[in-house]
Symmetry: C2
Subunit: 110 residues, 2 copies
């Protein structure tokens, strides 16, 4: 669970299908890069949190939360992140959809 502040804030929705899913070497390299990217994202001012899920079939959804669009742009353009984005397209993703959305309201349970 990611505790986020009162809206409004922003969410980056990243829906994807892993390529080379189940290949031990690719999965390990991907896992290491994903972990590093989570650590790096958390250093960007305005980062609020991240949630990630991946199903057994290799489809996944990652949502990261940000205070402003400027923070998202800073994250998008971080040099190390840009490198990994390129590697994602060549090696790790069959496809992805990326959406930027403004969170307007929320509620939680319990």
């Amino acid at each position: 669970m990611t505790s986020t502040p009162e809206p409004p804030y922003y969410a980056v929705l990243f829906s994807n299908q892993r390529a080379a899913w189940g290949d031990d070497e690719a999965d390990a390299a991907y896992g290491a890069a994903a972990e590093r990217m989570e650590q790096l994202a958390a250093t960007i001012p305005g980062y609020l949190g991240i949630e990630s899920s991946r199903s057994a079939d290799g489809t996944g959804i990652t949502v990261s939360y940000w205070d402003t669009e400027a923070s998202i742009a800073e994250w998008r353009d971080h040099p190390e992140h840009l490198d990994v984005q390129g590697r994602g397209r060549t090696d790790w993703y069959e496809w992805y959809e990326l959406r930027v959305a403004r969170v307007e309201r929320g509620r939680s349970f319990p």
Copy 2:
């Protein structure tokens, strides 16, 4: 992959942790209800699509897409959906976070 129209449109982000995860009976009942809810949501005018992922630890993210906030309200208040929401709180979810967001832009690969 869910094909969505040109923004703006809306996304309902539902992050959750299953309760009774791994219990065969609960998993089957949950699976049937989830499938039924996907079918029912698709009958609501303004429904654009749904994406869902669940990790081996029982955490999951479901994102449904809608044309307007009015469509989201109609879905939220559908009687059969209200019943299942109640069952979710008593039987199926340890916790959840629900967020309503306005999608402002998107891009896809390939």
